[in-house]
């Protein structure tokens, strides 16, 4: 079990702890501290996936978040997660990784035939190929594309893990723990600021872990460790690794994704898997560093081709060699450090430098170590299909557009470096318009829109000395403004190697008659020729080129491809890069799991559940619940094998014949107090309120200012300056806000206070011809006669020793009462009612029976008051006062509200007296008419009339009142039904309203 590419000593991994895992079924091992990528490379495995479009073999390219290729399907801890970045996922015992986008295997992939048909897959091929015949789209093209596209497979299992959200506030958030980030955090912490330092990787230090530098005579790594240890000991500092700040939102809110426990072998059941942090920072330091830029050449996507800094990171952090015969292909000095690192580990690299022969500190050192350096050279094309075997290299002419000499040399990896691109994503998301910095050929932050400051490489400073200086200064100054304390810190002495100038050269030309693919964007298989095609076809805006070619899209968001894409466009267009501009940076910076976004808001915790005090009783008595907003309401109480239809019919019939009780706790209740309460109600409701006596209730109708009905309900005058308002369950919150709006803003002179009391009262309706008899047993000492407690009367009395309110109001159209007691007494009241009601045949009834009862009475509710109806539409114009002003009154005079043929509420019964009319059906004259069939109205509510034993519906119909007696069709294309109906009055039962007054 030897690992052919593992170095003997180097690296920060724990060699005492082996971790076994599988890759495509093969048993392998790595060490604690490895990523999947480093462990696979140590085992000599480079072929890990197939590319998106051409199914070309792909290997690792980076060592972290920049990786475009190595996305794996990973199973661990009972998860199966797609598109996991192999260069970021830490190895855990028993992990199993498999390649994506290949069939039957990554070694032999049938889809690779696309690579040989590539002339058929140019940029925009989707748009061109699948346009005709049109009928092929749904059945043939779309399913084919769906199957061919995509990366991994999302699990259909329920995610059993725990995810959390956390809200945090701080003075300074530092994003990235490289040299500039550490310096900033340290300086701010010393000033007493509340600091959060976030590091994406498991290890703190950033480039200090891999660069050959020293700070105050400590190695970079040791200095980082010293600073982190001190920061961790400070109570005002939170230090977080495995935490990616991925989004910069308004008012300095940043969102961070923390991988809490995927790397742990054991954890408590309360440990979340991942955590989302919403961080409101007074100031933000963006020390996000930079990402190495590739150079484009032929077959540059072949496994074994790496970014040069990634190759160095594999050696220095993981003790892994990406190859033993490396070619280093560079346009700048930084790759020389990789070459020197290879040399240190007894591997002989060859450096191909696109620049002409010259001298610098690093070049001289490489030369002195005997490294083979070839100036004015570059890789033309990599040879090898599943792994680099050799490279055709060329000596460039002076203009760098053709070759003076071409030869082939053997190699097993190519480490490429095209200089550095600052990671400006967060700065750009904050609203900072970027500027192009000629000196480094990249965009850096410009003027700030929010409280953010980019430091170090993220701001285009590529020397350690400058990064540290910026970090200390900005961290100190920004925090001093907040804490008003300034601690002097001496900037440490730095020892680093000086880099010479880079070459402005990123795309190798091709020799005549050779045409290998030169990829710009690996993840989306976008090559140089694709960009050329897009421009040839007239796409000019970089945003359009991006969408046409898919350059810079998908999970890696073009981290390694954007600038090379821009450079190509500008070369072809003869522009300079800043003229071409850049595409928009949007969050998230890296993919995050849906679980993290959702957090704890799943299942029961998706929203609060509101239960009435009688809920438990309903549960015990086989209630089937229905959601009414957040409330759970009994829909019906199931007896034996009853269906919903049977149960609701039984319950409604019992109310009509005997008596039933219904839990009406969910109705909105608002307490209204103050000397101007009557005046206020008079303005809020359409009907008159000034003369309502104490101890009486009144039905009221509320409009919006545009004349549309907002809500209805009863309000009772409890005492001189005290009213109790009820609203519908659905509108309770809106009505309260509405009242507060008028009291606080429009009529602040009115001395009135409102407060919601919905949760303070438990309510039960007692309805049916026997309700008075039942009430008299509930209140043996109270005169409940029609004279003492008439319709719309109100009394306060003790309910078996408990204070209660009795309202004689009715929604069912029967003789009915509503009893309110304090919530704590709700269950007591309900059980007493069930006990006392036995002799009267009392049964509980749910919302379905409640609906039946109100529909056949023609009482309107939510389906009729749907935000489109005015009072006269629903036969409530009797409640609209002509004498006084009220909210919305001026709108009722509008012309369209007063035309004769305007919609009106009517009743519908099926001609056959059997077929139920689906709610939402359209009313038409001719069911067979050509489309569009003129619509005359719609069915708003339907029920089975228990009084007349046939279906009955309410409908809102054009010129409705004049349609009574006529026949139409109610058609529901959704239910595939067409029912012949007759229009009748909406008051199907007891049109005179005798029962409620009896």
């Amino acid at each position: 079990m030897s690992q052919p590419f593992r170095l003997n000593k180097e690296g920060l991994i724990n060699r005492n702890k082996k971790i076994s895992f599988t890759f495509n079924g093969k048993k392998l091992f790595g060490y604690e501290g490895d990523t999947i990528a480093s462990a696979l490379i140590a085992n000599g495995i480079h072929l890990v996936g197939r590319s998106f479009k051409y199914h070309r073999p792909r290997g690792f390219f980076g060592a972290g978040v920049e990786e475009p290729n190595a996305k794996l399907q990973v199973e661990f801890n009972g998860h199966s997660e797609p598109n996991v970045n192999a260069t970021e996922m830490e190895l855990v015992e028993g992990l199993s990784a498999t390649s994506q986008n290949c069939w039957p295997s990554v070694n032999f992939d049938v889809g690779a035939i696309n690579n040989f048909l590539k002339m058929f897959f140019p940029a925009g091929f989707y748009y061109k190929t699948f346009m005709w015949p049109k009928s092929f789209w749904y059945k043939i093209y779309e399913p084919f594309i769906r199957k061919a596209a995509g990366l991994g497979v999302a699990s259909i299992e329920k995610d059993k893990e725990r995810y959390e959200h956390k809200f945090e506030y701080c003075d300074l958030l530092v994003t990235g723990s490289g040299p500039s980030g550490l310096a900033s955090a340290y300086a701010a912490a010393k000033n007493g600021a509340k600091v959060i330092l976030a590091e994406d990787k498991p290890r703190f230090g950033g480039t200090l872990l891999t660069d050959d530098v020293s700070i105050d005579n400590l190695s970079g790594k040791d200095w980082a460790e010293k600073i982190i240890t001190e920061l961790k000991s400070m109570p005002n500092v939170t230090v977080k690794n495995r935490s990616q700040v991925f989004g910069y939102y308004d008012h300095n809110m940043l969102v961070m994704f923390e991988r809490v426990s995927d790397h742990l072998e054991t954890k408590s059941k309360f440990t979340p898997r991942q955590r989302l942090w919403y961080i409101r920072a007074k100031e933000t330091i963006l020390s996000t560093g930079s990402i190495e830029r590739p150079i484009v050449f032929g077959n540059n996507d072949t496994p074994g081709i790496f970014l040069s800094a990634a190759a160095k990171e594999y050696m220095k952090v993981y003790g892994v060699l990406v190859g033993k015969k490396p070619l280093i292909f560079t346009n700048n000095d930084s790759a020389y450090e990789t070459a020197l690192e290879f040399k240190k580990n007894n591997v002989e690299p060859i450096i191909l430098d696109t620049r002409e022969e010259h001298s610098s500190e690093l070049i001289d050192e490489a030369k002195s170590k005997g490294i083979d350096i070839r100036f004015s050279h570059g890789v033309i094309v990599a040879n090898g299909y599943k792994k680099v075997k050799s490279a055709k290299i060329g000596k460039l002419n002076k203009d760098k557009n053709s070759f003076e000499k071409i030869e082939t040399i053997e190699c097993d990896c190519i480490c490429v470096s095209g200089f550095w691109t600052p990671s400006v994503h967060l700065a750009s998301q904050s609203g900072n318009k970027l500027k192009y910095e000629e000196k480094i050929d990249a965009f850096i932050p410009d003027k700030k829109k929010q409280h953010e400051t980019s430091v170090g490489a993220a701001n285009g400073s590529f020397t350690l000395e400058e990064s540290l200086k910026h970090g200390f200064e900005n961290g100190s100054n920004l925090s001093a403004k907040i804490t008003e304390t300034k601690t002097e810190i001496s900037i440490p002495n730095v020892n680093e190697k000086k880099y010479g100038a880079h070459d402005k050269f990123w795309c190798m030309p091709l020799p005549k008659n050779e045409n290998p693919k030169r990829f710009v964007d690996f993840q989306n298989d976008v090559s140089v020729s694709d960009i050329e095609i897009a421009l040839r076809e007239g796409y000019r805006s970089i945003e359009h080129v991006k969408r046409y070619t898919t350059l810079g899209m998908a999970t890696d968001q073009g981290r390694t491809s954007n600038l090379n894409g821009l450079q190509l466009v500008s070369n072809i267009e003869n522009k300079i890069v800043p003229e071409v501009g850049h595409t928009t940076f949007r969050p998230p910076f890296t993919p995050i799991t849906i679980g993290t976004i959702v957090g704890r808001e799943v299942g029961m915790e998706y929203m609060p559940t509101r239960k009435t005090p009688m809920h438990e009783w309903h549960e015990k008595n086989n209630a089937v619940f229905v959601d009414a907003g957040a409330w759970k309401r009994p829909r019906y109480y199931k007896q034996g094998s009853e269906t919903l239809f049977e149960a609701s019919k039984r319950e409604a019939k019992n109310v009509r014949e005997n008596v039933g009780i219904c839990d009406v706790t969910t109705l909105g209740k608002i307490d209204i107090k103050g000397p101007d309460a009557a005046e206020f109600l008079n303005r809020v409701y359409t009907n008159a309120w000034m003369k309502l006596p104490v101890g009486k209730a009144r039905y009221g109708l509320m409009l919006r200012e545009d004349g549309i009905v907002m809500d209805d309900g009863t309000t009772t005058r409890i005492s001189e300056n005290h009213y109790h308002m009820t609203t519908t369950t659905a509108q309770a919150a809106n009505v309260l806000s509405h009242l507060e709006y008028y009291l606080q803003i429009v009529w602040p002179e009115l001395n009135v206070n409102v407060v919601s009391t919905t949760e303070q009262w438990a309510g039960a309706a007692i309805a049916g011809p026997k309700s008075r008899e039942m009430l008299s047993k509930l209140y043996p000492d109270l005169d409940v006669s029609n004279e003492a407690l008439p319709f719309m009367g109100y009394k306060e009395a003790e309910f078996f020793g408990v204070p209660s309110r009795i309202f004689r109001i009715s929604f069912s159209g029967e003789l009915a009462y509503e009893i309110n007691v304090k919530s704590d007494h709700g269950m007591f009241m309900w059980e007493k009612m069930m006990e006392v009601g036995k002799e009267f045949g009392n049964q509980p009834y749910g919302t379905e029976a409640l609906s039946t009862l109100r529909i056949e009475m023609g009482h309107v509710a939510g389906p009729e008051l749907d935000g489109r109806t005015i009072p006269s539409d629903v036969s409530l114009n009797g409640l609209v006062s002509k004498k006084k002003d009220f909210i919305g009154k001026n709108s009722l005079g509008r012309e369209a509200f007063n035309v004769e043929s305007r919609q009106k509420i009517v009743g519908l019964i099926p001609i056959d007296r059997k077929s139920s009319i689906p709610e939402g059906s359209h009313i038409v004259q001719d069911q067979n008419a050509k489309l569009p069939n003129p619509k005359l109205g719609h069915v708003s509510s339907s029920c089975w009339s228990v009084e007349n034993n046939n279906p009955f519906s309410l409908a809102i119909m054009k010129d409705g009142k004049n349609m009574i007696g006529k026949k139409f069709f109610a058609v529901s294309p959704l239910k595939n039904k067409s029912i012949e109906v007759e229009v009748i009055s909406s008051h199907y039962v007891d049109p005179e309203g005798k029962r409620v007054r009896s």
Binding site: E705, I745, D885, N890
Partner: protein, 89 residues
């Protein structure tokens, strides 16, 4: 997510508030004649400015007070917040 300073409670996350439209619209007085044009302007006509906008928000999950917020509709910058009884110049 905006960070809104409630004049009663202090800085709170946008989550706690609900938006209430243009704060400069004045409802015609109750019990007074109003022309159809004025009424229509009050009910329907709203400006949609790019830039500074004085608007109403209600601290619905807090003190339940309606407040005035002067905000830039393009950048979300909040310049000033006030009680509804106070003026924002």
């Amino acid at each position: 997510m905006l960070y809104i300073k409630c004049p009663y409670c202090g800085l709170r996350a946008q989550k706690e508030f609900s938006y209430g439209g243009d704060a400069t619209v004045k409802r015609p007085n109750i019990n007074e004649e109003v022309s159809s044009e004025d009424w229509d302007n009050f009910v329907y006509m709203r400006k949609s400015p790019r830039g500074k906008h004085i608007e109403l928000w209600q601290h619905i999950a807090g003190c339940r007070q309606w407040i005035k917020v002067q905000r830039d509709t393009a950048t979300h910058e909040i310049f000033q917040t006030a009680k509804v009884t106070e003026e924002i110049r």
